[in-house]
Structures are given as C-alpha cells and as structure tokens.
C-alpha cells in the first residue's frame, strides 16, 4: 500500500523553528505513532506529510514518489481530525463520498465503497443523517469511514480520540487497532497520550522540541530508553531519577550522572533494604498500589506495587531497586548501555 520517507524536514514559522530536521522511514503496513508533549511539532509534522503545510526544506516521499509540491488531494492520503471536521451540511453518506466524487469516481463505485466502509464501522442506520444528529463516537466513526472510503496509501490520524470520553476512547482505540489489522494499511497517528501510543503502535516516534528523540517499538522504548526525555516520557507513573553522586560508589561509575529506575522495579520491605524512607502518600488503585516515599539517600521516590498493600503515611519502609532494571544516563542525558 504505502511507505513514507521523510528527509531532513525543517519547518519554521518566521524565526521560530518548529521542526529541526526530521528523518524518518515508515515501512508499508506499519502503524507509526508520533508522541510528545504539546508544542513538540508532532501535529505540524503530520500536516507537512499531508501537504497542508509546506516544509521550509526537506523532502517527503510517499511510495517512493516525491510529493513535496503535490496538493493534499493527490498524495493518496486520508486524514482523521481531532474535531472530526465533518461537513455539517452533508449527510453521513455524502460526507464519506465527497472525496471520491471530487476525484470523478463513478457513482456505483462510490456507493459500493461507502457501503463497505459503513458496514465495517456499523454506520448503516445513520447514512441519511446529518453530523449534528450523531453522538461524538458516531461522528468520529464517520470521520474514520471518510478516510477508509478513499482507500489511501497512508492514513493520518491527528489526535482522533482526544475529544471522546474515557470509555469511548478505549472502544474506539480497539476499533482502530482492528481496522489496522484488517486493512493492513500504513497508518500514522499523532497523540500526546502515551497509553494510546503504547497500545496501538508498531513503532513509536518520540518527538521533543522539533526533533526526534528516539524511534522504536513500544517495548524498546520502555526497556531501553535512549535518553532522559524518553525515559521520563514513556511509562506511568514516571521513572524515578536519582542524581548519581547521592548513591556513592555504586552510582558514579563510568561517567554516570543520573540513575533511572521505574516505580515498578522497586520493592518495598518493612524490615530491611537498600534505602530507608518514610511513606508520604499512598494511592490505592485496586490492581496497583502507588507509594510515595521520602528516603534519606534518594529524596522523593515513587514505588508501584502490584495488588493491594496496607501501607499508610508515616510508615517507615525500606526500598530496594531491581539492579537489572536500572538505567544509567551521562551528563548529556544520553543512556549508557
């Protein structure tokens, strides 16, 4: 279906550089997610791929064809927007068919493709309705249907779930994952929600301040973050960072400046352990218990325990890190392997 190559894409608004040279390769059929804090340039990058913004320099190739000067409609892409962006004056059916109609497709063909997409998304009962008569979840399904109907080389999703409520978000996430399996299409998805990124992606691209921090599979990023930013961004609750000098001889080896340890890789004991500390706050989530400690050596520490635990504020406990899961970072914040 479609592959994508980005070659040193730069984008500046006036003197403010939003994208600082992005190189990226997306294989045919991959589900790639751009994730990063707001303002990191992920949406701008998506718009450059779509052709809605021109890059200041660099090239975009879809399926090996240079498309930097091709208008969006001719790039073989379809896009799903955060605000759905349905045409308010058209019925669901016409919303889905408009792109094909503009491209001069025969009516029978349009009808067939719309019917196929609408049955895939269970939109059949709503085909004659206007967008205003649909719920949020249905609107987003129409928007996805509008993308499917075009049979694009590349699906682009711009934070498609952020306007939906929590329950609907999970359901739509499943639908999108199912859709990717069925269509085997290349999808590029922008989100600031790392849960969406971890659950949907084949490949995650972590962006920060207009540059790529790391590209990899979800488990790669979780187990082997390339730098402090990725380590802190992926995983919830956030990884604990401890200045190496606080840990004495075990910490400072090999130019290590910062030690990172995920909350789930620390065990707690009431009798003995490496770091002695006092419980500050406990969050009971049922499946997990999150304990916040203040220890003498490390300062504030977040610990995630599986199952229910009866810790209470002011308890004295000992924390012990799982030495195999410790991440070390040098003075530049790069991981030391």
């Amino acid at each position: 279906m479609g592959s994508l190559q980005l070659n040193s894409i730069r984008k500046a608004f006036g003197s403010h550089e939003v994208l600082k040279g992005i190189d990226l390769e997306v294989e045919d059929g991959e589900f790639v997610i751009f994730v990063g804090p707001s303002g990191c340039g992920k949406s701008t990058l998506l718009r450059v791929i779509a052709g809605l913004e021109d890059a200041s320099s660099g090239s975009v190739r879809i399926d090996g064809r240079e498309v930097s000067v091709t208008p969006p409609a001719k790039r073989g892409i379809a896009m799903v927007f955060q605000s759905y962006a349905l045409y308010p004056h058209l019925s669901v059916k016409d919303n889905m068919g408009l792109g094909l109609k503009q491209a001069g497709t025969e009516k029978a063909e349009i009808d067939a493709r719309v019917a196929k997409a609408s049955s895939m998304l269970s939109l059949d009962p709503y085909l004659a309705r206007r967008p205003a008569e649909l719920s949020g979840g249905q609107r987003q399904r129409v928007a996805i249907g509008r993308a499917i109907v075009r049979e694009p080389k590349l699906f682009l999703f711009d934070e498609p779930l952020s306007n939906l409520d929590a329950a609907l978000r999970v359901q739509t996430r499943l639908e999108i994952a199912g859709l990717h399996r069925r269509l085997k299409a290349t999808m590029i998805y922008v989100t600031h929600d790392q849960v969406e990124a971890m659950t949907l992606a084949d490949k995650i691209v972590v962006l920060n301040a207009g540059a790529i921090e790391q590209v990899g599979s979800p488990m790669d990023l979780y187990n082997r973050p390339a730098n402090l930013f990725v380590a802190g961004f992926i995983g919830s609750p956030q990884m604990n960072f401890i200045p190496a000098e606080r840990l004495g001889q075990s910490g400072a080896q090999g130019g290590t400046k910062t030690i990172g340890i995920r909350p789930e890789h620390i065990s707690l004991s009431r009798e003995s352990g490496e770091w002695k500390g006092k419980v500050i706050h406990v969050e009971h989530l049922g499946a997990d218990t999150i304990v916040y400690l203040e220890t003498e050596t490390t300062g504030l520490l977040t610990v995630r325990l599986f199952g229910e635990h009866a810790h209470a504020p002011d308890d004295v406990v000992f924390a012990t890190p799982d030495n195999a899961s410790i991440h070390r970072f040098d003075a530049d914040g790069k991981a030391i392997v």
Binding site: L52, P71, P72, A73, A78, M79, F81, P88
Partner: protein, 279 residues
C-alpha cells in the same frame, strides 16, 4: 447567580428598558404613518392623534402615485440596494476569507487598510468620486451609485466577516483540501454556509444606510430616470411650501420594501446574535 438571573424584578427592569427603547425607536415611524393618512389641517392641528373618519384622507398617497414616477423610483432604490448588498457580501466575504485564511506578507496591514473605511466617511471623497464618475461617464447611472455603495459597505463587511471566518474550524477546511475541494469550493461550499448569520448581519447594516441615502443620489444621479425614493420624496419639499401629505406618504411607502428585506434577513440575524450564546 442562577437565582439572580431568573429573578422577576430583574427581568421586569430589563423588559421595561427594552420596551422604552422600542417606543422611542418606533415613535417617528408611527408618527409618519399615522399622519400620512390625515388631511393637511389635521397634520398641523393634531399631529399626535390617530386619523378619525372626519380627517381621514388619502390625498398624500394619491399625489405620490399620480405625480412623478414613484414606481420607477422604488425600482431604482431596490436595484441599487440589492445589487450593492450582493456585491458587498461577495467581495467582502472573499476578502475576509483571504485575510483570515492565508498567511502572506502584509496580511495585518491589508486588514487594517480595508478596515480604515469604517472610520473615514466616504463622503469626504465626494468631489473626487464625482470627478471620477464624470470622467468615466457614470453620472446619472445606477451603476455609479452601486459602485459607490459597494465601496461604502465593504470595510464593515470585511471587518465583521473576517472575525467570523476565523472561528470556522481549520480542520474542516483542511478536510476539504484533502478531499480535493478547490479553494473556491471550500469558500463557497464549506465556509459561506457556516458564516451565514454574520452575512445577514452585514446585509442589514449595509442595506439601511444605502436605502436611506440622499447624498449620493442627489450628487451622482439626480436625473429623472435614476432617482431613488429618498430623492424622489424631496420634490414635495419646496423652498417655501412643503407638501406634508405627499412627503409623509412617500416615506411611509419607502419603509415597506426595506421592511420586507429586513424580515428576510432577520431570521438569520437573530441566529447570528444568539449563535455564540446558545452553542
């Protein structure tokens, strides 16, 4: 807070103020219409009273309809007003779309330049306009009037419409671009329907000064064939004698077409005023 909002005293005061304003606004219209149905003596003796069987008279209307070419004047006013509104809306909306949608050098400056006309009355340029019209042979034509009124209406139209167009979602326009709609199709088929309430607002604000204008018809098109209603009514106002029956009747008649246009736009206008509040 919500208690205060629905308090009856508060709402009574609000309605009192609104009713008072309505009375003040309608009084001259009422006076004009009432007196147009009375004979000359009654107009002067009891200007405030309603027409009675003894002083009822249609003499004003008879004069208006028999003297001069009032139907023609109405037609001229109507053509000028409708054509000007159409041009103001079309060009105003296009300029507003360009200003709000595209990033280009001098965008802000261009917006300010186009809005400048709101603050500078077009009548300051009357002499130059007249010279231009004479030079281009547009004196005593409706085209001349239409051009001047289009220029007069554009600044406000561009200003109001560009503000409204900024509120149309970018995603929607981008979805149109991805679906292969041209910029013109995006403008006419996606954006214009969404700013219809604002267009109605602009239409009403543009229409009334044009319909009521005396200045430019008097200067640019005083000829018999291009006279507008307001100018036509002037022929009953002499230096020494004023035919009040005819003047009042002509003005009463002149209210009608503009009222019809207003009713057409008002449904949209009300939606425009409340669109922010209800949604």
């Amino acid at each position: 807070m919500s208690k205060a909002r629905f308090s009856p005293t508060r709402s009574a005061f609000v309605h009192l103020a609104l009713i008072a304003y309505t009375l003040v606004a309608l009084f001259p219209v009422f006076l004009t219409i009432v007196n147009s149905f009375k004979n000359r003596n009654a107009i002067f003796r009891e200007p405030m009273s309603l027409p009675t069987p003894s002083n009822f008279s249609l003499i004003g209307y008879e004069t208006v309809l028999s003297q001069g070419n009032f139907l023609g004047y109405f037609q001229n006013s109507f053509i000028v007003t409708v054509a000007s509104i159409a041009l103001v809306l079309l060009f105003g909306a296009m300029a507003a779309f360009a200003l709000s949608e595209y990033r280009f050098r001098g965008n802000t400056l261009m917006g300010l330049y186009l809005a400048l006309g709101i603050m500078i009355p077009i009548r300051l340029g009357t002499v130059a306009i007249l010279q231009g019209m004479v030079a281009s042979g547009l004196v005593n034509t409706l085209t001349g009037l239409i051009l001047v009124y289009t220029a007069q209406g554009l600044p406000l139209a561009v200003f109001i419409l560009s503000e409204f167009m900024r509120t149309v979602s970018d995603d929607l326009k981008n979805a149109g671009r991805i679906d292969g709609l041209s910029e013109y199709a995006i403008f006419f088929r996606l954006v214009l329907p969404l700013v219809r309430p604002a267009m109605a607002t602009v239409a009403v604000f543009t229409m009334i000064p044009i319909w009521n204008d005396l200045w430019f018809p008097l200067i640019l098109a005083p000829g018999e064939s291009t006279k507008t209603v307001t100018l036509g009514a002037q022929m009953f106002i002499g230096q020494f004698v004023i035919n009040w029956n005819a003047v009042l009747s002509a003005l009463s008649l002149a209210i009608l077409p503009v009222l019809v246009l207003y009713v057409i736009f008002s449904r949209q206008l009300i939606r425009g005023i409340t669109s922010g509040a209800v949604k």
